[in-house]
Symmetry: C2
């Protein structure tokens, strides 16, 4: 693991690292914000999963999250959104499949299966690496945006006890039933809908072993709301099994990082409270 950038930020450090991922079989880059408190003792971490076309840097540069993370003593770990450096057939042809669009699943279909294992990467390999090399404790939570909001929900629902909190901005809530999700799940997992169900929050929540509350912010003017995001499907599923969910419709907001920046503080405080952190 090699540090390739470091910037002082709100009394802590914003860093980028590269490492050879055995899960993905490629060299990966990720970003981490370490708050000032990490200089004295390991701190909990929020994992942030980004959306289509993003890298590890979008959230770092645009969300303005470091200020509150520094206050709370929360690390923020931002993985990339797909394997990089492979040139599989068609990998770079569309914005919603292949590079920049790993969808946080373990692919089973060729030619993706050898590298596109982002689910294992973000739930297993990366957290282990971070805990081993950085002052980050094993207490963690997870959030994300759009494709990454879907990823955050899936990671939390499939791993009871692992995450202390989960939230999402404009997540793809029911991927089996929308074009982005059908293209991705079909391409990475094949035609078997049972395989898709392992990565669909609105289905996973029906059999969740843990009632971890779900916080979602969704912009009312999000261009993708109706066709791709389908938060109502998730809310309905949650209600059917009494799974706690709060869907906040934010009037006038869109799908951009201006929306995320506006409400990220609420999410960070929600995560921090669940992680046992308090403002300094």
């Amino acid at each position: 693991m090699e540090m390739i950038a470091e910037n002082r930020c709100f009394g802590g450090y914003q860093r980028r690292y590269q490492h050879d991922s055995r899960t993905l079989g490629v060299t990966m880059t990720f970003s981490v914000y370490l708050p000032p408190q990490a200089e004295k003792a390991p701190v909990p971490a929020m994992y942030w999963l980004s959306g289509l076309t993003c890298t590890d840097e979008n959230f770092v540069q645009k969300a303005g999250a470091q200020r509150v993370a520094a206050e709370l003593g929360l690390a923020i770990v931002c993985p990339d959104t797909s394997p990089r450096g492979t040139d599989l057939p068609g990998e770079h042809d569309s914005y919603d499949f292949g590079s920049g669009a790993g969808f946080y699943v373990n692919a089973t279909q060729e030619p993706w299966a050898a590298h596109y294992r982002m689910y294992d990467y973000v739930t297993e390999e990366l957290p282990a690496l971070v805990r081993e090399h950085l002052p980050v404790s094993d207490r963690c939570s997870i959030s994300g945006h759009s494709m990454g909001g879907h990823g955050a929900l899936v990671c939390a629902l499939r791993n009871p006890g692992r995450y202390q909190a989960v939230s999402a901005f404009a997540p793809i809530c029911n991927p089996s039933d929308v074009p982005w999700g059908q293209k991705a799940l079909g391409g990475y997992l094949g035609d078997d809908k049972a395989a898709w169900a392992e990565y669909d929050a609105s289905l996973l929540v029906l059999q969740a072993a843990e009632r971890l509350p779900i916080l979602i912010d969704q912009g009312s003017h999000d261009n993708f709301l109706e066709e791709q995001l389908a938060p109502d499907a998730l809310v309905k599923a949650c209600q059917s099994v009494n799974h706690p969910v709060e869907l906040r419709m934010q009037s006038g907001y869109d799908h951009s990082y201006f929306f995320i920046a506006t409400f990220i503080e609420d999410h960070l405080r929600h995560h921090a409270a669940a992680l046992g952190l308090s403002p300094r």
Copy 2:
């Protein structure tokens, strides 16, 4: 003037506009943040001048300024850093001269004189346009980063009474005496050092007609500190004429937007206080 983008942000609007600039003879793009208070009455504006290679968007996306601007009721106007759309000989050859590097001067040398009039653009045409078309009052202040910090200081020092506050992040303080400044001032203004003096804060302050306090944040680990920025020259000049200046050396910080994001809140509150705004 045409609105080309609008995003809801912290209860207000982050917008981009295009207009045909008569000063520059090209179509220009600028960004403006309008806080929620602007829906009821015109609000004061802080002008932000960006650094080398930037556009109107860097500050908007990376500084995280909208949160505090929304609290204070302060608009933020971000011009581009040079004329665009011309293809003058050599204009795009270097990062520190020509496109992306207008240095906020009125060029007198060919081929630049016809278009590179960023000083008039940011002090006259753009403010008049903004006041005419947007809910922005005539009370304003100015700040900026690096080349734009130089620009902010020059605009304030040359226009007593115009700006209620001035501040800068890592400004080029004494351009006549550093490589970036010598290249730019020589290229745009020719060899006459008297012409350069009209755009050098460390010289202008010696004869300033107004004692507007100057606030500067400077990172101690800024790669450009010694060779290009020279804040000590400005402090020394200010002290020689009792011009109020506060230079805050920020330990460990560099030249990046992570540095700006960390301290922008202090600057916004400084500007707001001078503009008569108070937190809501």
